[in-house]
Symmetry: C2
Subunit: 262 residues, 2 copies
């Protein structure tokens, strides 16, 4: 019996007020304990541009320099996070907006410099997550809402991938709950036919996964998502679901619209 | 026996990295349960200027229009609040950064328009504070750190005076704790001689207050602070202390450097 939903929603929903309002209404209506992790969206780039801060990319990946970490701390940790909280509150969801620095819930390590110096980017290990603090909030009836930020425990905020935060929280909280980790993305789920958006495979386990791979059904884009899903399951997460933000409510039930992985 | 300190620190300390680091070290070292409320500081005005947002004032009072509430939500609720949290964490204080929207702790009412439309400014009533949620955080060993922001419970963040938040939280939490409410300001305390910064009056009660007023010892600046202090005490707060940010640690002991009001 699933008793905690850990749900990640991406920047594409954050950036679109209509999609966002619809998503937040559905998220608020989900029964039981839940956690939301939100991506950043493009607003940080826009505000950074207005502040004259150049976005630097190496091999297509953004570098978080000192000016940029301040912008994302403001925009993700302040503007986006608190607006989500205020909107969830008005929908009857007792949201509490957090970063990984708050209550030291997600200590991280600044990514070591190899070929590329990514700057103030944090890497998270699930075993470092302070799940007891998070459990206290959940048991007090609160719904934690995380911005994609952590800290290095030495006073520095770090920019951190929202998917990684979601899987790390889900793994750590599996010590206390039966967790379904839900990734909202732009498709309804894993498709049996890449040209048919409604050809959703509703259940994938290891056996089915190997068959789908052998049959070359899976696209390159979905393979790493499924690998990450199985990695989370092997680390204790009961179920992973990949589905559309529009379907988030039904994806917390037994008859899912998306793809349930277990 | 005091078992909770509610401490407000102003923008002048927030704006000065050296003062701020010294203050946070002292705050982190305070034993027992504590809450910090921080003012905004001038950084919101600077970032607003860079974003091309005009600061509008009427009779010397800032108007919080739609663009300005976004800036203060970013800067106070994101940048300033999360940097304080990260720094407190590295000093061994288990800080959790919040606005009044988080866990619906401080519901507020948008200030009614009379002669002046202050815009997105919130007025708080202590009886509306959700002290049970705050108590859950304190009992879980966390130190709440509040940005000067609340919400209208209809999805809108509101700019709110940090002194008012501090006194409202202190009054509401007096249902659960014996509270000392500490205001850090630029003097060591209430002075017996306005020209001698060390002539601190260490204890003021109603009788002494009336005597000081009769003797014209008190300056115009300190009178409203003392009136607010007595109002908080009449609403259940055990003690109010007015003192310097440098003295915050000793001002949580029995032998205060500042002015204890009770």
């Amino acid at each position: 019996m699933i008793d905690l939903f850990v749900i990640k929603v991406g920047g594409n929903v954050i950036d679109n007020p209509t999609l966002l309002d619809a998503f937040l209404q559905k998220f608020a209506a989900i029964q039981g304990k839940k956690i939301l992790i939100h991506g950043g969206g493009k607003i940080a780039t826009r505000i950074g541009d207005q502040l004259g801060i150049q976005s630097n990319y190496v091999n297509g990946r953004r570098i978080t320099d000192a000016a940029t970490i301040d912008v994302v701390t403001m925009v993700y940790g302040g503007l986006v996070n608190k607006q989500l909280v205020a909107k969830l509150q008005t929908n009857g969801c007792n949201a509490i907006g957090l970063t990984g620095a708050d209550a030291n819930i997600i200590p991280a390590v600044k990514r070591p410099v190899k070929e590329i110096d990514f700057g103030f980017v944090g890497d998270v290990k699930p075993e470092d997550v302070q799940s007891t603090a998070l459990k206290a909030l959940l048991e007090a009836g609160m719904t934690p809402v995380f911005a994609p930020l952590t800290h290095d425990t030495k006073g520095q905020i770090l920019n951190t991938n929202a998917d990684t935060i979601a899987s790390s929280l889900a793994i750590a909280l599996s010590a206390h709950y039966n967790v379904r980790l839900i990734y909202c993305f732009e498709k309804k789920g894993v498709l049996h036919d890449a040209n048919d958006d409604n050809a959703v495979i509703n259940l994938i386990d290891r056996v089915i996964y190997e068959e789908l791979k052998a049959d070359n059904v899976l696209t390159d884009g979905i393979l790493p998502k499924l690998e990450n899903a199985f990695a989370a399951i092997e680390s204790g997460v009961a179920e992973v679901l990949i589905g559309h933000a529009d379907d988030v409510q039904s994806n917390t039930t037994d008859t899912v619209a998306g793809t349930l992985i277990r």
